[in-house]
Every structure is written in C-alpha cells, then in structure tokens.
C-alpha cells in the first residue's frame, strides 16, 4: 500500500486512472463484503465504468437484485432519508470537518492561553496582550482557580487540623540560588519535588532554591509584586517566551 497523499480530483492520466480504478474497485468490494459479514447485514454495490460493458457488482447479479427489491419495497420516505449523492455526501463531510476544526481551534486556544498564564505568573508583562487575549486569560485563570479552590476544599476536609510546618532545608550539596535561572526555559537538572500525598508535608525534601525563595519575599521571583518586578526580566523576555506562541 503506497502512502502518498492523493489529490482529490479526476486523474487525467489515462493509465494511472485505470490502475487506480482497478485497485480501488477491488478495495471497495472487499469493504462492502466485510461490512456485510461483520454486521450481518444485507448490502450491494454496482459500479459502471468505461472499462467494462457490464456493471461490476457485489455480491452477484442475483444478490443485487434481491437487495434492490428489498430496497424498493420500503416506503419512499425511508428510502430517501439516508440517501446521498456526491454533492450531499461531500457537504456532510465538509460540515463535519468544520465542526472538528472549530473544536480543535478552541482546544488549542485554551492550551495556548495556559502557556501565557504560566508565563505571566512568572513575571511576563501584560502589555503585549490585546483585549481578546486578556479576556481569554481571565477565563483560563478562572477555570484554574475553580479547580484549585475545589482541591483546597477537599484537602482541608481530609486533614482539618493539619498545619504545614516550614520545611527544613535539605543538607548540601548546594543547588545554585535560583532567581532568573529558575525561570529561564533553559533550566536543567533542577530536581522536581516528588508528587505529594495530600496532607503529608513533613516528609518532603525541597530543593534549596525553593526554601530560599520562600524565605525571601522580596526576591523578584515572588508572585504578587508590583510592576518593578516586570522590569527585572527586561532582557530575559525573549528567552522566556516560546517561539510557538510568538512566531
């Protein structure tokens, strides 16, 4: 089976067209046969071509006559309800593809805005965003916050008296102090803290940079600081933004 993408148009080359016809006709007949067997249903196919004086059929002439008789016995409305020709069939396919495209577009937009959100959380400014972006960013934030609040609720319910004590930093070796290094996309080798079971805070080893960051609210990494924070990242902007987002 060749895997070249075939253009959906009449094949002008005569021999290529004939070869394609032979192959595809064979495939089509096979598919009708499989459908009939797998689903235990009656079916027939009729193909008129310039290459044969008689139509090529499946299953056979008698079988076709039987199915057609069965077809004609049905009320007109039933016959035409699910009847299509090229035009109507292609229109149906267009409608379906449009739907899928819209859906995929929306999904991608959500994913894109999630990226933006995380970048803004670590200091990227909002100046380059247009109104539509801001609206969608707000929406994504709301969606995430909803989930977070829900999760916080359920965690609090499970361990109502649990108070997270500050965690002692793990012993050296030293992990380099974080600042902009932490946030640049080129960070390697920073250990990710292991996934945590709810409420079990004590046993967690944190990378040293995390504790430093926690204890230094004035670090420019902190969330919720004023505009001066954005200035700090002036030169790092390009390093932080993925090229996928800003072509």
């Amino acid at each position: 089976m060749t895997r070249k993408k075939v253009k959906l148009a009449f094949i002008t080359n005569d021999s290529a067209r004939k070869a394609t016809f032979k192959k595809r006709k064979k495939g089509l007949m096979k598919k009708v046969s499989e459908l009939s067997t797998l689903c235990g249903i009656d079916a027939c196919a009729i193909i008129y071509s310039p290459y044969e004086s008689q139509p090529e059929v499946w299953p056979n002439t008698l079988g076709v006559q039987r199915v057609l008789a069965q077809f004609k016995r049905m009320p007109e409305m039933e016959q035409s309800k699910k009847m299509v020709n090229q035009e109507s069939f292609i229109r149906q396919r267009i409608a379906k593809a449009s739907e899928q495209l819209k859906k995929q577009h929306k999904e991608n937009r959500e994913k894109e805005m999630t990226e933006v959100m995380y970048q803004c959380l670590t200091g990227k400014g909002l100046q380059n965003l247009i109104m539509a972006d801001l609206n969608d960013l707000g929406w994504i934030l709301d969606q995430n916050l909803k989930e977070i609040y829900k999760r916080i609720e359920s965690l609090k319910k499970m361990t109502p008296t649990q108070v997270a004590p500050p965690v002692a930093p793990p012993p050296p070796p030293q992990v380099p102090a974080a600042t902009s290094e932490m946030l640049a996309r080129g960070v390697h080798g920073q250990e990710q803290k292991p996934a945590v079971e709810s409420g079990n805070v004590e046993g967690i080893q944190r990378p040293q940079w995390y504790t430093e960051w926690m204890n230094n609210p004035n670090e420019n990494l902190g969330f919720g600081h004023g505009d001066e924070m954005m200035m700090q990242f002036g030169d790092n902007h390009n390093a932080m933004w993925s090229s996928a987002f800003f072509p």
Binding site: V6, L8, F10, I11, R17, T20, R24, L28, K31, V32, E34, L35, T37, L38, C39, D42, C44, A45, I46, I47, Y48, P55, F71, Q79, K82, M83, N85, Q86, E87, R93, A97, L101, E107, N108, R109, K111, T114, C120, L121, L126, L129, M131, A132, L134, N135, D136, L137, L141, N144, I148, I152, V187, Q192, K193, V196, V201, Y210, G224, S242, A244
Partner: protein, 198 residues
C-alpha cells in the same frame, strides 16, 4: 481535556460481531468509510456507482453517483447509458460544483490536520514544563501549601488582568472630559466585556 488514545489498528476476524453495541459502532464507522471510499472512486476515476446498505436496525443507507435512482433504474432495466443532451448538461454542471466542494473539503481537512499537529506540540510543551516547574504541575499533584501559593499568585494575576483590561478600554476611548456621567458608566461595563472568546 486530554483525549483517551484509541486502540489503533487492530487485526480483526471477519465474522459476525458478537456484542451488539460493538456491532452497531462498527456498522456506523464502516458504513461511513465505505461511502467515503465510493465518493473518492467517483471523483478520481469518474465512474458511476451505487451502494445500498441495510443497518442492523433495518434502516437503509444508500450512496449513488450521479444519484441512486439513476443507477438502480439503469441496472434493473439493463439500459445502456442514456445520452440525452439535457442529461449531459446536468452532469457537467454537477461536476463543476462537486469539484468546488472537493476543493473546499480538502482545504478543511488540511487545516484540521495542521491544528491537530499544533495541539500535539502544545501538549508536548506542557508536559515538559510540568516536569520542570512545580507550579505548572497538574493540580492534583500539588499539596495544600503549594495550592495556596498558586491560588494567591493567580488571584493576583487576575487583578492585573482586570487592571490592564480597564487600561485598554480607557486608551481606546476618544479623549473626553473627566467626571462626566458617561465615562464612569463605561468603566462599569467592563464586567460585561469579559466573556471574550469562550
């Protein structure tokens, strides 16, 4: 909104399917694929086809080019193809619009493929970031402390977004006197604005 990966192509036995709903699903998918193949054969090779299929429930589906009745009649009456001029004219007219439609379809399918690829690379980026930065991890993997941190930062960002939105709204207004009733009214309309794309 992660999609469950499908099972991919499996080799199946060609015998009647035992489970009823499996049978129904198979019928639906394969019938659709069959018509698609028939449609392609018509376009590529310029041949006339009819396919008639009965569903497990007894409904009948049919595909025909130029149309089902024409082919069925032709077969039943064993007539050679009628060559009336009117028929030829209708045929060529149809072909032109079918060509158009096929072009449109092809374009859509290409766009769809591109968007899917874009989605995949965005997913990949996300997975990568989730490993590196704790605050980007999935919410169910964060502990209470981290969640509260994240919540605070997001609330903060939300305020900034609201601020910036307001700024933009004010920017695009033509200059006017401050302290007029209408300018304050516009600022209060911000709430209505925030439905955006979704």
């Amino acid at each position: 909104m992660a999609k469950k990966p499908s099972m991919g192509r499996q080799k199946i036995k060609i015998a009647k399917i035992k489970k009823k709903n499996h049978l129904q699903v198979t019928f639906s998918k394969r019938r659709s694929g069959l018509f698609k193949k028939a449609s392609e054969l018509c376009t590529l090779c310029g041949v006339d086809i009819a396919i008639v299929v009965f569903s497990p429930a007894g409904k009948v589906f049919s595909f025909g080019h130029p149309n089902v009745e024409y082919i069925v009649d032709r077969f039943v009456t064993r007539n050679p193809r009628p060559n009336s001029n009117a028929f030829q004219l209708v045929e060529t007219h149809q072909s032109a619009s079918i060509r158009e439609l096929n072009l449109q379809l092809t374009q859509l399918l290409n766009e769809l493929e591109d968007e899917k690829k874009r989605g995949e690379s965005l997913d990949f980026m996300r997975k990568d970031s989730q490993k590196r930065f704790w605050w980007e991890a999935a919410i169910e993997n964060l502990d209470l402390n981290e969640l509260e941190q994240l919540r605070d930062s997001m609330e903060e960002l939300k305020k900034k977004v609201a601020n910036q939105t307001n700024n933009l709204l004010l920017e695009t207004k033509p200059p006017r006197m401050m302290n007029t009733a209408s300018s304050t009214a516009d600022i209060h309309n911000f709430g209505a604005y925030v439905n955006g794309f979704f």
